[in-house]
Symmetry: C2
Subunit: 294 residues, 2 copies
C-alpha cells in the first residue's frame, strides 16, 4: 500500500510511524511545503520517500494533516490528482467548511472526513511519536458520502493503529469540539497570558508554580499556526463557548464579591461531577486495552 | 521525635508517610475531627496512634493540614497547648490572615508558617501518597519570627523529605499564589461547568474529549471544602486575578469578532513563552534530583 502523508508534522509523522509498525508492505511518501521538515521526516524514518503533488496519482491512501485553512485549498487539489481507487482522509479540527468545500467535487466519494482526538502541545516532525492514536477517537463525518470500499480501507487502517471510530455530522462536530477542545485552548492561553503579564519577574512563577498550574496552562504551548485557522473557521461556535465561559467566570466573581461563599462551594461541588466524566474516559481506555489483550 | 499531624488527609497523610520513611525513630500521632478518616489513617499505617488536642504537650513537631479557615481557629489553640520546645508548622494555601492571627500569641516563636506547593486533585487519607513533597517548593513566611532552633528542626525535616525552601512575606505570597494556583482552579472549575452545562448528553463529552480537555479541567475535581475558604481568605487578590483573566478573555473574543486573526496569532505566539517557564520548572526538578545523587 502506497500512503502519502501531506504535512509531516506531529500528526502526519505519528500516523506514518504507526502505519509502518502495524501494516506490512506499506510504503510512505511525504509531501510538505517546508523542505527542512520533509528532510527531517526522511532522516527520522517517518517517511520512505520525499514526493510532490504530481506523484499522488499512484497513492492508495492520502493522509492530509496540515492547518485547516491550508486544507481548504489543498483538499480539492488532491482529489483532482488521485486515482479513482484512492481514499483521501484528513485530521482537521474543524469539519463543516472542509466538507462544504468538496461537496460538489467529482471525486467526493474518494474523501473520508476525519478528526482524530489526539495530539500533544508540540509540533513538527521531531514531535512525532509511536502510539499517538492508540485508544483515541477518530470522529468521521458524512461517512455515507464516501465510497464503501474506500471507507473500509481507511477504517481498517484506523483500527489497526488502535483508534475507535465515532460518526457525526460536520455541524455537530464543530459545535461539540468547540466546547471540549477549542475552548480549553483559549482558557489555557489566556491563563498563561494573565500570569506572564503579572509576574514580570519570572523567578516568582518558577518557584511558586506547581503541577496544577502546569496542567491548566499546558495547552498554551500549542502552535499558533495550527490554532489560529481553527478559531477562524469555527468562529461562531468558539465565540459562543467563550461567552458562556466568561459569563460563568463573572458569576463566580460576583458570588465572591457578595461574600456568598456557600454558593461558591455549591458551584464547585456541582462541577466535581466532571470526575465521573473523566473517569469514564479513562475507563473506556482501560476497556479498550483489555479488548486488545494487553 | 513525636510528630502530631492535625488533619490526616492528602497533605497530612502524605507528610506522615514520608516522615516515616526518611526519619528514624519517628512516632506519628494523628488528630482529626473526622473519626472515620482518623481510623482509616491508622489502618493505612499513616499514623501510629490516634490522639486528641490534650496530647499535644508531648509533641516535638506539629503539622497542621486542614482547610485554612479552620486553621485560623485551631492554630492559636495548638500554640496554647504545645511545650516551649515544639515547632508548629502548617500547609495552608493563604498566609496573611494566619500570620496576623497569631502575631501577638505568646508562643509565636514556636510557629513556622509554610505552604508546600504540592498536592493532587484528590483528598482524604486514602489519597495520601509517598513522595508527594519530593522536589517541591515549601514557601516559608516570616521565618525571622520563629525561634532559630525550631526553624532548624522543621527545615531539616522538610529537606529530608526532598523539599526546597523559599522565603517570602505573607502578603507577597498571597498575591503571587493567587496567580499561579488559585486562578488556575477557578479557570478549571468554570471550564468544567461550561462544558457540563452545554453537553447534557454526556456521551458526547465522553467521546470527543481528549487529553487536552482532561488536563485543563483536572483541577475541577478538587475539594470544595478546601478551596472555598482559600478563595474567601484570599478574596481581594483572587478577584484581581479574575478581573485580569476575564479582561484577557474578552480581548481575545473581541479580536475574533473583528476577524483580527493576525493579532489572535500574535497573542498565542507571545504566550508560547510559557514553554520556557514550564521547562524551567522541570529543569529545576532534574537538577534537584542530580543533587540528591539519584
Amino acid at each position: 500500500m502506497k500512503v502519502f502523508i501531506i504535512g509531516v508534522g506531529l500528526i502526519g509523522g505519528s500516523f506514518a510511524l504507526d502505519l509502518k509498525s502495524v501494516i506490512k508492505q506499506v510504503e510512505v511518501y511525504g509531501i510538505d511545503d517546508n523542505e527542512e521538515h520533509l528532510q527531517k521526516a526522511l532522516d527520522l524514518g517517518l517517511i520512505d520517500h520525499k514526493a510532490v503533488f504530481e506523484d499522488l496519482a499512484k497513492a492508495d491512501l492520502v493522509y492530509l494533516a496540515i492547518p485547516v485553512d491550508a486544507s481548504l485549498e489543498v483538499l480539492p487539489r488532491i482529489l483532482d490528482l488521485v486515482n479513482d481507487n484512492c481514499v483521501v482522509t484528513d485530521a482537521g479540527s474543524t469539519k463543516e467548511h472542509l466538507c462544504e468545500k468538496v461537496s460538489d467535487h467529482p471525486k467526493r466519494r474518494n474523501y473520508l472526513s476525519g478528526h482524530p482526538i489526539s495530539g500533544t502541545e508540540f509540533s513538527g516532525p521531531t514531535a512525532a511519536i509511536h502510539g499517538l492514536f492508540k485508544n483515541k477517537t477518530n470522529i468521521i463525518c458524512e461517512v455515507e458520502k464516501t465510497a464503501f470500499k474506500l471507507q473500509e480501507r481507511a477504517l481498517e487502517v484506523f483500527q489497526a493503529i488502535g483508534m475507535k471510530i465515532r460518526y457525526m455530522d460536520p455541524k455537530s462536530h464543530d459545535r461539540h469540539i468547540a466546547y471540549v477542545s477549542h475552548l480549553s485552548h483559549i482558557s489555557s492561553f489566556m491563563l498563561g497570558k494573565t500570569v506572564l503579564e503579572k509576574e514580570k519577574n519570572e523567578r516568582d512563577i518558577f518557584d511558586l508554580a506547581g503541577s496544577g498550574f502546569a496542567s491548566t496552562v499546558r495547552l498554551a504551548k500549542s502552535s499558533p499556526a495550527m490554532w489560529t485557522p481553527i478559531f477562524n473557521l469555527n468562529k461562531k461556535n468558539v465565540m459562543e463557548t467563550l461567552d458562556e465561559y466568561i459569563s460563568n467566570l463573572k458569576h463566580f466573581r460576583k458570588l465572591m464579591e457578595e461574600d456568598n461563599f456557600e454558593e461558591v462551594f455549591r458551584e464547585m461541588e456541582r462541577t466535581n461531577h466532571i470526575r465521573e466524566v473523566l473517569n469514564g474516559i479513562n475507563q473506556n481506555e482501560e476497556i479498550k486495552i483489555i479488548e486488545n489483550g494487553k
